[in-house]
Amino acid sequence: MTEAAVPTRIASAMKEAGLAAFVALVLAMPMVGLYTVDEGGVLVVRTRFDWVLIGVLVVFAGRLAMAYWPATLRIPARRDAAHVAADGHFNILKFLGIAAISLAVLLPVLPVTDRYVIDVATTVLIYVMLGWGLNIVVGLAGLLDLGYVAFYAVGAYSFALLARNFGLNFWECLPLAGALAALCGILLGFPVLRLRGDYLAIVTLGFGEMIRIVLINWQSFTGGPNGLTSIPRPSFFGLPFTRNPEEGETAFHQFFGLEFAPYHRLAFLYYLILALALVTNAFTMRIRRLPIGRAWEALREDEIACRALGINPTNTKLTAFAIGAMFGGFAGSFFAARQGFISPESFTFIESAMILAVVVLGGMGSQIGVVLAATLLVVLPELGREFAEFRMVLFGAAMIAIMIWRPHGLLARRDPSIVLPPARRGAA
């Protein structure tokens, strides 16, 4: 760098930082600078400009620091991962995956694990499963679906209604709920999959809302805004998790000669969603290596080239949509079974956004990235609970940080679905 360049660099950095600080000021003034308090039943607006000042200074300093962040410390957003995987080097991600699965399996029996931890872990796993399901649609097939929660809702309501009206148990309902969600996927996909990119996103967003509004208004069938209560809980191969089982039934704790503990049911639910999530993952890993999976990825890369190669784009997209929806439906069934109560409020757009965030932050198409992102997105707000109102700020800041340093997601990488062994490459 020449000597003359140094001052201009400082100047431009200052300018950038000043601009960022100004934006922060504009945003923070109403959002942080003003707050309301309840004084004898009347809401009064108060100011706290000192907080605004702190925020603006932090942004200014932060932007300045970013400009001077040594380039060498920056993490490359994308490495050429294909080489590493292909040549059979020790694969750190594989190791990470095995470690994560072992931890997940052992979690309920670890001494530090209590009801709270297992509950949060179950929520994480629901998002992992939903993320993996949506990953088929968004990450592999490249179809931006903003209404994925619709299929989650269809699965949940299918289970609740089938169980309540026909007395089917969880395992009987699960395939039906998956099939119904997949059917919805096909019905939605048929008219809209000729759209691309933003248009598809908007239509799927609309579809998600439609399902929710139908659920709210179809009182007689879905219970309307009150939702559905007393959904039967899943049992352990016919052994219920109740303290006092009904006449002629043996409860889980009686069968195994244990003291009754509500923790058993939580642990069972945890293992249930773990198993469902792992099935989703195994399925995705397998199907990626089959022609249909490759066609999905090819479609994401270039639809026109696909047509020129004789791939039927509509059918290929429909299968991706249907299979993604099916896993959403499975997760929905589990959700209903776990909660015992569902209402349309659980299936708002924010939920779709959350699932999409899991996929995008994880690194589109990356299976382990989804786990990481789901953990982060669920655990971070939990940790932030102590900060009460600043939870969402923390959450937002984390998202922004990820987008700055890992614009392709936490773990953006792609394993080739088929590799030519080194022997063949060398011998030729």
Binding site: R286, A308, G310
Partner: protein
């Protein structure tokens, strides 16, 4: 005379008021390279788009004399033309799957064969041996083409990371992996240096001799066109202004006029970029 593979009759393509292709008729023979040349905007790519189902022709009949019987391409849906009529094509601006590997690009091209062998996914999901054999065959075919285009060592690299010339050849190999009866190449020599276009000549004549398929070639590089074409069709403003062997076409006054805008030069149509 070799048998006619493709018959284009009275093909017309209108975009609003613009007539991109105007009552064009020609035939392409099996085992021959038929070149379509003409100045920029003459309608060459539009002809390809009609042939491969990306556009529905306004008027005209496109008959492919397929081994299984004649097919009317203008009535078929885009992906079916590739799947059933087995017409393969490349694009003027390369369309590979850039983030998939070179090998995967070639495997995807064999999608329909593999899909059938996989029992539409269900069979393969449960590990049917039929699918494993089909996949092995697909791998062998891909390797064969990788060797022919000299990219075996780069099989596991992302297609988007290849140099330009390699991408062009990979796109042709990918089209060939669909096992076509007619191969349509849209400016395969664009952006290649003279050595590379000489190699391309050899590669294309190799395909013609070995596979005995018909090749349609759009090209501005006259060293390629004059060197390897058996038959040339010249377009200008959507109309056929000349056709015949390279020798005839290069002396045709209408062609010279279209390319140079003045009648007296007897030069070969100038090489353009």
């Amino acid at each position: 005379m070799k048998p006619v593979l493709l018959e284009v009759e009275h093909l017309t393509m209108r975009f609003g008021g613009l007539i991109a292709v105007d009552d064009l008729s020609f035939a392409a023979r099996q085992g021959e390279i038929t070149a379509i040349i003409g100045p920029n905007g003459a309608g060459k790519t539009t002809v390809f788009n009609c042939l491969t189902g990306f556009y529905k022709p306004t008027v005209g009949r496109l008959t492919l004399h397929h081994p299984a019987g004649p097919l009317l391409l203008e009535q078929m849906e885009g992906f079916r033309i590739a799947a059933r009529a087995r017409v393969a094509r490349t694009f003027q601006n390369i369309r590979l799957f850039p983030r998939m590997t070179v090998l995967e690009n070639l495997i995807v091209a064999q999608h329909n064969v593999l899909m059938r062998a996989s029992g539409f996914t269900l069979g393969a999901l449960f590990g049917l041996p039929r699918y494993r054999h089909a996949e092995q065959d697909a791998l062998e075919r891909s390797c064969l083409w990788l060797e022919r285009i000299g990219l075996v060592t780069r099989a596991n690299d992302e297609a988007g990371s290849l140099p330009y010339g390699d991408q062009r050849r990979l796109e042709i190999a990918r089209a060939m992996c669909t096992d076509p009866v007619l191969l349509c190449l849209d400016e395969p020599a664009a952006g290649l240096n003279p050595r590379e276009s000489a190699e391309l000549n050899q590669f294309l004549t190799g395909i013609r001799e070995r596979e005995k398929i018909g090749i349609l070639l759009i090209e501005h590089d006259m060293s390629v066109v004059m060197g390897i074409s058996d038959h040339i069709v010249v377009l200008d403003y959507g109309k056929r202004i000349a056709s015949g062997s390279p020798g005839t076409v290069r002396r045709d006054p209408a062609v010279i006029r279209a390319y140079l805008g003045e009648p007296e030069s007897d030069a070969v149509p100038a090489e353009r970029t």
